[in-house]
Every structure is written in structure tokens, then in C-alpha cells.
């Protein structure tokens, strides 16, 4: 990690030169479930074995980790022999799946004693797994703690801001990740989905759509898209989740551990 970080070599008097753990820690990106679950393209930026994984957000940024706050609605043990906990974490736009097993002892202990529903804050690394031809995003917690509704609302407000900033920048951007998103997600890329997610989040907080910087336009956009997008928005629904082969899920997620 430190190899790719310019900070690590630029000063002989820097006392933390040899601290590769702190060096170049990746920022935790903010994104809603609607977008996190669509960020199915996970890649490395270098050939190095220990190079970090990045998930490509459709809005044209990459995330090595997320910080998110949501409601745990359910915790299930999806492991075969060993305990492998799957937590459903819900935000105003959808449901994310957080998995914790023996390599996340703190998170696993936390989840096994948690009584849903509860607000949690999660710092997590994204990875993906395949099941019946579909790619799913799973989140591996680095930390998970119980928080209050004010923290949750603050996260929603912050994530609205970050998501809108990415969406606003997308059309005219020459960022490599915007180009990568266009290429990777191609026809399935529909940024209006995330505008709508933002609108849902605003509504959740009791904010009007006119809080947007270009409010008048967005109001129309949101109205127009609402009907067409219902199907994709409704990721929280039962069908896809029931399709999980639970042992396959556990194996895929467990393999992802080893990559890091």
C-alpha cells in the first residue's frame, strides 16, 4: 500500500515512515444501498498481490471501503459448520448485506448479540460474489457499532451530499472512473436511479426536493422517473434474496477474506 503513496517517501524526517498500516489508508466513501449494490465491478489498480480492491461506483468513483449507517433488520447464520452471520442493513434506498465470520470476531460477536431492529454504523470493505449468474455485493465489516437516530440522520444527510456531488460532476467529467463506469456498466448504467435514491433519502429526512442546488429541475426529474424505476429500486424485495445459495454465499465471502 505504501508503495503507491507519495507521502511515504517524501521526507526523511517523517517519523512514521515505516508504518505501512497507517500509510495511505483509503478513504471510506459514502454511498447509499441503491448504488453500493450496483457497484459490482471490483478491481485492483495494480498487479501487486497486496494491492487494495476497489469497487467502481456507477456515479464514477471508486471505493476501497465504505462508511455507512443503517438499520439492522435481521441477522441470520448462513454458514455451514462455522458461524457465518449475514446482517441486513437498511438505508432509505435499499438493503445492504454485511457478512461476519471467524475473521471478524468483533463484528460477529456484536451481530450475534444484537437484537434487531437497531441502528448501526459500519466501516466495511466491499467485495462481490456470484450466485445463479448474478453478481452480488457483500460488505465485510472492519467495525460495527450501535448508534442513535441522530447519527443515522447525519449519515443520510452527508451521503445525500456526497452522492449528489458525484452525480452533478458526472456528465462533464473527464475522470478515468467516470469513463470506466460508462464502459463497465454500459447499458445498465442509469444515474437517474441514484437521483431517485437521493430523493428518497431526502424524503426520509423530511427534506423537500427544493433543497437541491438546482431544485426546480430536479423536482421534474424526480417526478418523471418515479414510475419507470420502481422495479429496479425495489431491491429490498424478497425474490433476489431468496435466490441465494447460502453455502455458496458463505464460501464466496470467505474467499474474499483471503484476498486482503
Amino acid at each position: 500500500m505504501s508503495e503507491s503513496n507519495p507521502e511515504s517517501t517524501s521526507s526523511s524526517t517523517d517519523t512514521e515512515n515505516n508504518d505501512s498500516d497507517r500509510q495511505g489508508r483509503q478513504v471510506a466513501k459514502r454511498a447509499f444501498a441503491a448504488e453500493i449494490n450496483d457497484a459490482t465491478h471490483v478491481f485492483k489498480q495494480s498487479d501487486e498481490e497486496r494491492a487494495p480492491n476497489f469497487a467502481l461506483l456507477p456515479s464514477g468513483e471508486v471505493a476501497n471501503r465504505y462508511f455507512l449507517v443503517g438499520t439492522v433488520t435481521e441477522v441470520n447464520d448462513v454458514g455451514n459448520e462455522d458461524e457465518y452471520l449475514q446482517a441486513r442493513v437498511v438505508d432509505p434506498t435499499g438493503t445492504m448485506f454485511v457478512y461476519a465470520g471467524e475473521y471478524q470476531p468483533q463484528a460477529a460477536a456484536f451481530l450475534s448479540s444484537l437484537e434487531p431492529p437497531a441502528y448501526v454504523a459500519v466501516t466495511a470493505k466491499p467485495s462481490t460474489f456470484e450466485s445463479e449468474g448474478e453478481t452480488y455485493v457483500s460488505l465485510r465489516p472492519e467495525s460495527i457499532t450501535r448508534v442513535d437516530d441522530e447519527t443515522r440522520d447525519r449519515w443520510v444527510a452527508e451521503t445525500i451530499e456526497r452522492t449528489e456531488a458525484r452525480l452533478d460532476a458526472f456528465p462533464g467529467s473527464d475522470s478515468e472512473f467516470v469513463a470506466m463506469s460508462r464502459k463497465q456498466y454500459g447499458d445498465s448504467l442509469d444515474l437517474d436511479t441514484y437521483r431517485e435514491a437521493v430523493a428518497d433519502a431526502r424524503e426520509d429526512l423530511g427534506l423537500g426536493v427544493d433543497h437541491r442546488s438546482d431544485g426546480s429541475e430536479s423536482e421534474n426529474t424526480v417526478e418523471n422517473q418515479h414510475e419507470g424505476d420502481d422495479a429496479t429500486l425495489d431491491e429490498d424485495g424478497a425474490p433476489e434474496e431468496e435466490a441465494f445459495d447460502e453455502s455458496e454465499v458463505a464460501a464466496a465471502v470467505a474467499n474474499a477474506e483471503l484476498e486482503d
Binding site: 507521502e7 521526507s11 517519523t15 515505516n18 498500516d21 467495525s143 457499532t145 447525519r154 449519515w155
Partner: protein, 316 residues
């Protein structure tokens, strides 16, 4: 001395007083910790006398030649020498605005941190009325040990700049002199305030043990001080936190006072917790549960990689 010189065609002679001053000036350029004895001032003066008054070499050139000669004798690089002429002299910390400038400062040691490398003897924060700066005292300098809370005159220390932030380095050319009295250390000019969630607490947080040697205070690893071996440590509280607003990462250190304030736990309570659990790590775990994932407003000086938390408040 000039009496025994070859009769000069030139009438220019260099007085004994000037020779003696030049000789002392040369000696000051050499580090105190040479492998071998420095020549006496008389020896140097005699050498200068020979060059100037006997061989008609201008004093400046004689001085240069003498320095070069003694450098060879002691196997020193040019960079190992001090050049008092370049020193900015007594300055305040807030006025440091150049890289690699020799300065003298009178400061209070605000905080000592654990060195992260063997080549570093002591590292921490020094302050005067104008502000605070990080300092690094290199092991090979073999200087007096600095104590937290005490005032020192640090002479011939060199500034260093990294990403627009300055720090002070103490090397073998530097001098440390303890000074009586106290300094009311000013608020740092580089105090920053940030609002962000705490996304992690790093290991080495919570209830820690420091080396009891008052000149050391290093954090013990498995009961061992990297300097003093197995020691009976003294308990302390701290948090090494990571704040992340989604765009940048900021590391922060809460000292005992700041940890007690934000964690709602005193050192005594932390010790009791650890005693009950027969494990000090329960304190770190409790702090993680209580603090990580919440949003805070934190304020303090940024020193190196760390924001040293003076004020912290959870944002409701």
C-alpha cells in the same frame, strides 16, 4: 607570536586576539561528540598564525584551510559542520518558515510520543508562547533527555518542512540546556477543527502502560520497553483514532485527559475494568463500542500525521 614570524614584507599582521577568536569560531563548528579529541584553541590559533602571519594567507582563507584540515583529520563531511553564520539565532516557533534553517529556541516540552524508529531517541511536541511544533531528537546525537513539562534552550537545531508543516530536528550539532521557569505555551497557529465520524480506533488505544523511567515513558509492548526491557509499567489512557469525512482521512490522538472526557471513563475506572476482566484490551473494546461510528467535532494542532485533540464533542 608575530615576533617569531618570518619578517613580513607586508605590514598586515593578525593580532593574537583575532587569531584566538577565529580559532574558537572554528572549534564551535565541530560537533562535540567526535571520535577523538578536538585540538585546543591554542593549537588552532597557532596554525592560523602560521598561515596568516608567516605565509601571508588572508585570515578568511586561513580559516577555510584550517577547517578543511581538521575535517580531514576527523573524517567529517562538510555537512557535519555547523555554520554559525547561517543560524537565525533566537527565534519563536511561530516564526519558523524556512526549511533547513539553523535556529535557537527556548521551549517547553508539551508532549513526548513514542518513537517509531530506533534512529529516533525522542519525538514529541515543543511549544513557546507563539505556538507549537513537532520535534525529533535523533538517537545518534546522544543529547540530554528531554522531560515533559520542562523548559529548555535548544541551540543549533535545524528546521525541517514537510507538506507545508515545520518541525525541529535535534542532531549531533545541537545543544540542550535546561532552563528554570515555565512557559505559557500558546495555542497552536495550526489548530484545525474538523467534523467527521470516527471510523476506527487503532490498536494501542485504551489502557496502555508506559515505561516508568521518567526520561523514557515509551509505551510498553507486552510489558517490555524497547529501551529498558521488562519493566513495571505505569498505566495511561489514550485513543488513536481515525476520522474520515468521505474525502480525507485524519489520524488523531486523544491523550489521557481528552480520552477521559470523550470516553466518559477515568483512568481509575479503566484500571478497574481491566482488573475485573484480567485483560487491558477490554478498555479499548469499550471505547470502540462507545465512540466509533459517531460524528464529532474535534479541534487541535496538527503535528505530523496526527491531530492532537484538545477539544472534542460528539455531534448529536
Amino acid at each position: 607570536m608575530s615576533s617569531n614570524a618570518t619578517p613580513a614584507e607586508s605590514t598586515v599582521t593578525v593580532s593574537d586576539a583575532d587569531l584566538s577568536e577565529a580559532a574558537n569560531g572554528i572549534l564551535e563548528q565541530f560537533p562535540d561528540d567526535l571520535d577523538g579529541d578536538l585540538p585546543s584553541a591554542e593549537e588552532v590559533a597557532s596554525r592560523l598564525d602560521q598561515m596568516t602571519n608567516q605565509y601571508k594567507v588572508p585570515l578568511d582563507e586561513a580559516r577555510r584551510a584550517a577547517v578543511s584540515h581538521y575535517r580531514d583529520v576527523f573524517g567529517l563531511e562538510y555537512d557535519d559542520l555547523e555554520f554559525p553564520g547561517q543560524s537565525a539565532g533566537d527565534i519563536t516557533l511561530a516564526s519558523v518558515d524556512q526549511d533547513e534553517q539553523w535556529v535557537d529556541v527556548t521551549v517547553k516540552v508539551v508532549e513526548l510520543w513514542e518513537p517509531t524508529h530506533d534512529s529516533i531517541d525522542q519525538v514529541g511536541l515543543i511549544g513557546d508562547e507563539s505556538g507549537r511544533l513537532k520535534f525529533t531528537k535523533w538517537a545518534k546525537a546522544e543529547l540530554l533527555t528531554l522531560e515533559e513539562g520542562r523548559v529548555y534552550k535548544l541551540s543549533n537545531v535545524i528546521t525541517s518542512e514537510y507538506k507545508g508543516r515545520y518541525s525541529i530536528n535535534l542532531n549531533s550539532r545541537s545543544n540542550i540546556e535546561a532552563v528554570d521557569g515555565d512557559i505559557d505555551v500558546g495555542a497552536d497557529v495550526e489548530d484545525v477543527q474538523l467534523s467527521a465520524p470516527m471510523v476506527a480506533i487503532q490498536s494501542g488505544s485504551g489502557l496502555i502502560k508506559r515505561c516508568p523511567d521518567e526520561d523514557c515513558t515509551r509505551v510498553l509492548q507486552n510489558g517490555r520497553c524497547s529501551e529498558h526491557g521488562d519493566v513495571e509499567g505505569e498505566f495511561d489512557l489514550r485513543i488513536k483514532a481515525v476520522f474520515d469525512d468521505g474525502e480525507t482521512v485524519q489520524y488523531a490522538i486523544f491523550d489521557r485527559e481528552a480520552t477521559e472526557a470523550i470516553g466518559g471513563i477515568t483512568l481509575e475506572e479503566a484500571k478497574e475494568m481491566a482488573m475485573d476482566a484480567l485483560d487491558t484490551s477490554v478498555v479499548e473494546d469499550a471505547l470502540i463500542d462507545a465512540l466509533v461510528g459517531r460524528y464529532y467535532s474535534v479541534e487541535g494542532p496538527i503535528v505530523g500525521r496526527y491531530l492532537l485533540v484538545n477539544e472534542a464533542e460528539q455531534l448529536g
